[in-house]
Homo-oligomer: 333 residues x 2
């Protein structure tokens, strides 16, 4: 691997000059000299060592992204958005899965700090909390979170309360009065907000909130399957179910089917996320759309503004959109 010194030698200039031309430094370099250097760079196929650059410039052109689980299509899509934005800006991303475990989150943060990541995008799990926050150290001024977190980081958010309300209102409009809610992980503000939307919508329609109709899953199809079976076992079973993500909705539909119930005739189902597969399911899944890819893009753009100290809005909130498909109402979209 050629170093800057090799280039300098070959072009018969000093390393300072080489540095100037490869960095398009404002410092002027003679036309002739510049070309000599460029030629040497070409011939040697020289590429600056990013580690050395990072060490001295105190920026690594790397950002960390911390999520619970890349296997979840929801996060995969967000990551894709982040990635594309990062790519365009010349940043590389280091990906970390935490399964929402506190100790993993802390380890991830430390690794990123050690590697001098220029920033972090955090989504899923808890980042407010003393240990986590203090692990961030100086990085704490370069964090963008996705979702609501009880701490003042710049954030890209989704109107989860509104989204859940839309879903429930839709079911109510269809005549459902007993609507079950299969929620996500307990320690998640997303879950809290969606439950709030659920409650609000019930209240607005003068429907009672019944504890037994609310179950908790872990966002996998399996958990939706389990949960729906429980709730359909009740003597007075619900006629509609709203799940906190699409994966659980798929599980729920499957569970209902196993119990001999038809969706949507015997049970109307509405999910959340609008992952790509929704349309292909049978019946196609009604859901609350979140623009995942755009969220990823925005988060990365926000992080870059933060890093570059540009002006920017610290909050960006995406509206959700109800997508009516057959799982709730029989006719298609």
């Amino acid at each position: 691997m050629p170093t800057i010194r090799d280039v300098a030698r070959k072009a018969r200039v000093s390393i300072a000059t080489v540095s100037r031309v490869i960095n398009n430094s404002p410092h002027q370099v003679g036309r002739e000299t510049r070309e000599k250097v460029l030629r040497a760079v070409q011939e040697l196929d020289y590429r600056p060592n990013a580690l050395a650059q990072g060490l001295i410039m105190k920026r690594s052109m790397t950002v960390g992204i911390i999520i619970p689980d890349i296997s979840n299509p929801y996060y995969a899509e967000i990551v894709r958005g982040i990635q594309d934005a990062a790519d365009r800006a010349g940043y590389a991303i280091v990906l970390q899965n935490t399964d929402r475990k506190k100790d993993k989150i802390i380890r991830c943060i430390q690794v990123l700090r050690d590697k001098k990541a220029d920033g972090i995008i955090f989504s899923g799990g808890i980042i407010h909390g003393y240990e986590t926050l203090s692990a961030l150290g100086e990085l704490n001024s370069r964090v963008v979170v996705i979702g609501r977190h009880e701490v003042d980081f710049p954030a890209v958010r989704v109107d989860n309360i509104g989204g859940a309300t839309q879903a429930i209102q839709h079911l109510v409009d269809l005549g459902h009065e007993r609507i079950s809610f299969i929620n996500g992980p307990e320690m998640s503000t997303t879950s809290i907000d969606r439950q709030r939307g659920y409650k609000n919508a019930l209240a607005q329609n003068n429907l009672p909130f019944e504890r037994e109709l609310v179950k908790r899953g872990n966002l996998t199809p399996e958990s939706g399957y389990m949960a729906v079976k429980e709730v359909l076992q009740l003597r007075n079973r619900p006629t509609g179910v709203f799940t906190s993500n699409d994966l659980m909705a798929f599980g729920a539909i499957c569970g209902a089917r196993e119990l001999g119930l038809k969706v949507p005739d015997d049970l109307a189902v509405v999910g959340f996320d609008n992952i790509p597969l929704c349309t292909y399911f049978d019946p196609p899944l009604s859901t609350v759309e979140i623009p995942m890819y755009e969220i990823g893009l925005s988060a990365m753009e926000m992080l870059m503004d933060l890093i570059n100290q540009s002006e920017f809005d610290r909050y960006k909130i995406f509206k959700t959109r109800l997508i009516k498909r057959r799982s709730s109402q029989g006719k298609n979209t």
Copy 2:
């Protein structure tokens, strides 16, 4: 951010000593001294700068992983496996999506080279090809590929020929004689192998290979949907269809349904991959299982062996397993 010098000062020792204790260097350090240093490290919350370490040690504890698209659950699952293995070994991963585009692949490689990645795991798309190969430079001795590539890198592979054969044989056993094949991207050895398996199986059963029954998709549900419609439009339409991945199978089932055909009664469908959602689909999807997570794990372990110059088998091939569900045969698994 405290540096090693700060620690040295606080502990009243030299930086060399600090370095020795934080690296558990074989070089002995006195018990007392060690404790003094450790205490200083604690109090200052000192963490070594990975960039500086990398610069001097010529290893960054980072590996690159290059895939077409993290939104594809197949790759997401593999990445999860890689990640978990990397994590255990103290490596971070930088993720890159290429959409199988040559120029993107090359850019990804260069970035990794600049950042002094310790190795690369490559999957999907073409890595053999002059430009790509030469972009690798010295990294070319630290590459593990997933899938068959026409170049001699250590590889984790799947028996795609065998898998496709299993799928077709299964359909033949069920009495199907006209079996369509919806293949993946042209420039993929995976596609080539699966098509070979398809052909072989037909030949073994004395069934003709008919060009018109073979379509090509891009692995998305949409493309499976389009392809199946084409093939079902034929005057002598197939009664079975085998798709090169599950996503396309989902699309195909959806397409068949739209044409008023029942799966599996009018059309038997078999996919490939066994992504988590297969069970929850209606009908549950028969498919050829690939142990994606394990593939990811293996690839990373292989890469670590490569990096550490340990002995290891340069090829690991995973067998596939046919999973019979309702989409092909009416009765469940």
